[in-house]
Symmetry: C2
Subunit: 108 residues, 2 copies
């Protein structure tokens, strides 16, 4: 099945969630999301989301050199990002609860 459409509007939240745990760079965020179960997420989607969130003022950004590869652009949550995470998580919670209730009506 193609669950890519399900990510719409939720990838932001997912990225915020992993960054809330600890700062991370793009390639790392992709890995963490896939390990978390979102294995179909595209790398370009994550990079795009990070740039979008940064542009929206929700993330801090700093570049760190690496011994084993190219530089890494780290991202982390700031206050705006934490606020965004809180409200998004809440919205998602009520939305998924609504959907769960809708799907549970198995009285046919």
């Amino acid at each position: 099945m193609d669950s890519s459409q399900l990510l719409k509007g939720v990838l932001d939240l997912a990225v915020l969630a992993v960054l809330k745990e600890r700062d991370g760079y793009g390639y790392d965020v992709v890995r963490r999301l896939r390990e978390a179960g979102l294995d179909e997420v595209g790398d370009a989607s994550v990079y795009g989301t990070l740039r979008r969130l940064f542009k929206a003022g929700a993330l801090t950004s700093y570049v760190v050199a690496s011994d084993e590869g190219p530089h890494r652009k780290y991202y982390g949550l700031n206050d705006v990002g934490r606020q965004m995470y809180a409200t998004s998580a809440k919205t998602w919670g009520s939305f998924s609860a609504t959907m769960a209730a809708l799907l549970k009506e198995e009285r046919s």
Copy 2:
């Protein structure tokens, strides 16, 4: 917050869910979805979804005259639609579980 993006890819499932309970026409499906909690769903989205699902062969369709207004175009699930509902519900279930797990990691 704008939860419209959350509907992406899930509106199909929501529409299938209400039609699984019983047949319905567009305007009625909109009302039922809103009563279920998806109060921000646009009517054009539902009509579009119904047409799309019908075109995909998941729905039956029949027009019924009404005493109190315009005609009503009823839609109902066929075998394809029921199959689609089953797999979509399953996909949604695992996806939302993944998201729940991701959000629950409150160990900062």
